[in-house]
């Protein structure tokens, strides 16, 4: 199951709102708001494609998100390879 650790860059005045909205997303685990308005999160999916879909949804759907940046991607057990 592909898993990615990402940092999410957020507008300064919207960090708490974004964090709260992220908690409503399936397969997204958050690890708090950190310096320079970054939220650390882990995305889980069945395929690498789903990782990107989740990433794009966060970027497109949540007001205040400026960017989603993968820092770690594990590709083992990608269902699309089966």
């Amino acid at each position: 199951m592909p898993i990615s650790g990402v940092t999410i860059l957020v507008e300064e005045q919207k960090t708490n709102k974004v964090l709260a909205e992220l908690k409503n997303y399936d397969r997204v685990t958050t690890y708090g708001i950190h310096k320079n308005n970054y939220i650390v999160a882990v995305l889980e999916a069945n395929t690498v494609n789903e990782l990107e879909v989740i990433s794009n949804k966060i970027l497109d759907e949540i007001d205040g998100v400026l960017g989603v940046y993968p820092a770690y991607v594990n590709y083992q057990d990608d269902d699309s390879e089966k």
């Binding site: 199951m1 592909p2 898993i3 990615s4 650790g5 990402v6 940092t7 860059l9 507008e11 300064e12 685990t29 690890y31 950190h34 310096k35 320079n36 308005n37 970054y38 650390v40 999160a41 882990v42 889980e44 395929t47 690498v48 494609n49 789903e50 990782l51 990107e52 879909v53 990433s55 794009n56 400026l66 960017g67 989603v68 940046y69 993968p70 820092a71 770690y72 991607v73 594990n74 590709y75 083992q76 699309s80």
Partner: protein, 754 residues
């Protein structure tokens, strides 16, 4: 106790936190069977550091390298798919030759024997200039170096080009003619020090996402930082813009002169910098003074420029005042400025803004061209991978340069021809005309990527074509007589040199797929079979090739003598000039801290803070150019009333040979579309998702309409990635007379609803 899934989640969170300098409790860390290797991303020209996770001979994970100061551990969305390309089902695993019209598997011996025999026959019957090589800004420096020696040094033809001719040549011409030397004065370090980002013809958010993140971070931490965009199309980059100017495609030269007009007339110029550091010249190269320059600019008042460019005069004044009032300023640009009939002039006019205000050579200020490919700078611009240059910023036309290179290559000096070979468009025209009868294409896909592409399929069909590739099929392999399987990223070692003059080492981590071989060794083995055994016998390792190339940079403006493999394996790249193994690399060229500047005699540096010592500069001075406005090569008219422009999107890269290997990415962005402004769509009766016919003077395509407020009215945009809808077939192959770079960015088009 954590299960495996929890462990991976924890590792992912720790890596993400570490990338922003946050340490999560280390007790969460556990041992793993993954081996990690420091490397560089395969995609764009930013040069992000990656850590490659290998396990059991496969790439199983990727991390951003948090010790690499370019990306500080962050990656863009394309990182999700890096290993997909390595282990793709479309990897080319065996040599193939065409028999009875079909490519069939063969072995290396038969394939290389055939290429050597055909190339030697052509050379004997028609001379060396009947052969050509077409390479890539994605090839490693060592690979391009071997091609250079084989074709220029042994075969004796300068018909050697690379696809950076299609993306960066105008920036090279701009830098050489304006500051006397290729490549930027500063580095990415300026991003964190600037008060203004002026983005010209660059969708940074999608094409260079990690640099866009650095721009956003700068604005977040310093809200007074301004962002001005000059682009005929609104893009995701606009989300942080303070001002966006929308010039008509191809009509921005007048705009840049008008910004200079305001800077000059509103007292924003640095006359002492101009006097001590610059010449002012007209288009014919005649010297002028500042008064004369001011008179020239009178033809470009904001009102006059507004009439030409379509940008309101008030916005031009506003942009100029933002530039003038910013203590420091960085202009960043990509293909929107380069892929133009007057791309060199456009580059000159942008660099002018920095020269007249003195916003160059100081922290936070630079005229900074962004590169599209990961090794366009390192392998091609520095390595001499074009028809008029030799390794180490040397010229084929310079006798001393030819002798220096020939001596290192161990070939007679007369082997290297003094006349530049055919540039890219001329080369493919040469194939059409039959002047070139055999071509070796490495790591690129010209049948898809050339402008007016269909025009050049004739030559590819008729002549002997060899393609060294990692993937099959591509549009170019459809024309190949021989296809050679090339090792891909992570399967070979070598050096990439990115946008900011930084050279970085990449290790070979896994064995090449199937029978694939490293491109440099394919060329070496071919050279031996062609009869150049003695000249290529010594190249047994990548390091031997790099060291020979490194020696050719000694004492040059791009001195890499301190960048040994041993050192590059440890550090996160080195920024030249780096003349010794003790030297840390150079942040700013031509000023204090640059070892070449520092070594200049004191009298040369008297009363100045920069000395432009590059090969094209005179008396250490840069040049402010009085370039007149010029229209695009193919203006819109009554018959073709819409301006077509093209580019990349976030999910894909170039001709899909890599990103297209991930079926998932194809589903995310499955096909081409044309962006049409709602105002234009309304006039033409076109609705979102309608099928439309797009036509230019070169052909037509059926394509889906995307009605969206992104391109300015009068302009449409089509991404160029998909072979099913190859928009480059419709693009113009008119090229800049100086840089020979084609004008992809402007073509007159018309659209009708089907």
């Amino acid at each position: 106790m954590q299960n495996r899934r929890e462990f991976i989640k924890t590792s992912a969170a720790i890596a993400a936190a570490a990338s922003i300098g946050v340490q999560f409790p280390s007790k969460l860390m556990a041992s793993t069977d993954t081996n990690w290797h420091k490397s560089v991303c395969r995609y764009c020209g930013v040069g992000c550091g990656v850590m490659i996770g290998e396990s059991g001979g496969k790439i199983t994970a990727i991390k951003g390298d948090n010790q690499n100061t370019i990306n500080n551990g962050h990656l863009c969305v394309k990182a999700f798919y890096l290993p997909k390309a390595v282990h793709s089902k479309t990897r080319l695993l065996h040599p193939m030759i065409r028999k009875n019209g079909k490519l069939v598997e063969t072995d290396w011996e038969e394939a290389l024997d055939l290429v050597a025999k055909k190339f030697n026959e052509i050379r004997k019957a028609h001379g060396g200039d009947a052969l050509a090589f077409y390479g890539s800004g994605q090839a490693e420096t060592e690979e391009t170096y071997m091609a250079n020696k084989l074709f220029k040094g042994c075969i004796g033809t300068n018909n050697l080009e690379g696809n950076p001719r299609l993306c960066m040549a105008s920036a090279v011409g701009g830098y050489l003619s304006s500051i006397g030397a290729d490549e930027p004065v500063g580095t990415y370090e300026d991003f964190e020090k600037t008060d203004l980002f002026m983005l010209v013809g660059s969708n940074t958010a999608e094409a260079h996402p990690i640099l866009f993140e650095r721009i956003m971070r700068r604005k977040n931490s310093n809200p007074s930082t301004k962002i001005v965009i000059i682009d005929p199309r609104k893009t995701p980059t606009d989300q942080i813009a303070d001002l966006h100017l929308f010039p008509k495609p191809g009509y921005d030269l007048a705009l840049f002169n008008a910004i200079a007009y305001v800077l000059v007339n509103e007292g924003f110029i640095d006359e002492s910098f101009i006097k001590a550091h610059t010449f002012i010249k007209d288009n014919e190269g005649q010297a002028h003074d500042l008064t004369s320059y001011k008179e020239f600019l009178n033809d470009y008042t904001p009102e006059k420029a507004a009439a030409i460019s379509g940008v309101p005069a008030a916005d031009i004044v506003k942009a100029a005042k933002i530039f003038g009032n910013s203590k420091t300023a960085m202009t960043l640009w990509t293909m929107g400025l380069n892929q133009r009939k007057r791309g060199v002039w456009a580059n000159n006019l942008v660099i002018n803004l920095h020269l007249i205000t003195g916003k160059i050579g100081v922290p936070g200020s630079d005229a900074f061209s962004l590169t599209g490919q990961p090794n366009a700078c390192g392998g091609v611009r520095e390595g001499g991978g074009l028809c008029h240059i030799l390794p180490g910023h040397r010229l084929v036309a310079n006798e001393a340069h030819r002798k220096q290179v020939a001596e290192v290559w161990g070939v007679p000096a007369g082997n290297i021809q003094p006349k530049p070979g055919k540039h890219t468009i001329a080369m493919f025209q040469g194939l059409n005309d039959g002047d070139i009868k055999g071509i070796y294409i490495m790591c690129t896909n010209p049948a898809h990527s050339l402008p007016n592409a269909a025009k050049y399929w004739k030559g590819l069909k008729e002549q002997f074509v060899v393609v060294a590739e990692s993937f099959l099929p591509t549009m170019t392999t459809e024309y190949a007589d021989v296809v050679l399987p090339a090792a891909f990223w992570t399967e070979k070692e070598g050096v990439y040199g990115c946008t900011e003059r930084r050279s970085q080492y990449m290790p070979g981590v896994i064995e090449p797929s199937g029978e694939a071989k490293w491109d440099a060794f394919i060329l070496r083995d071919l050279a031996k079979k062609m009869g150049f055994e003695k000249e290529f016998a010594k190249y047994e390792t990548a390091e031997i090739i790099w060291d020979e190339y490194r020696g050719l940079t000694k004492g040059k403006d791009m001195d890499l003598m301190g960048a040994t493999y041993n050192r590059l394996k440890k550090v996160r790249g080195l920024i030249w000039p780096v003349p010794t193994e003790e030297h840390p690399g150079t942040y700013k060229r031509f000023t204090d801290g640059d070892p070449i500047y520092d070594a200049l005699p004191a009298e040369k540096k008297k009363n100045r803070r920069m000395y432009f010592y590059g090969p094209k500069a005179k008396d250490g001075k840069a040049t402010i150019w009085m370039r007149p406005h010029a229209d695009p090569g193919e203006p819109t008219d009554a018959e073709y009333p819409i301006a077509l422009t093209t580019g990349r999107i976030l999910e894909h890269w170039h001709t899909l040979t890599m990103t297209g290997t991930a079926p998932q990415l194809n589903r995310a962005a499955p096909k081409a579309y044309v962006e049409i402004n709602p105002v234009d769509a309304n006039k033409m009766g076109i609705k979102n998702k309608d099928q439309v016919k797009m036509e230019t003077r070169r052909g037509s395509l059926n394509i889906e309409a995307r009605v969206i407020d992104r391109p300015a009215p009068g302009t449409v945009f089509v991404p160029f990635h998909w072979k099913e809808t190859p928009i480059n077939v419709l693009c113009s192959d008119i090229f800049d007379p100086g840089s020979k770079e084609p004008e992809y960015k402007v073509a007159a088009a018309r659209i009708t609803k089907i």
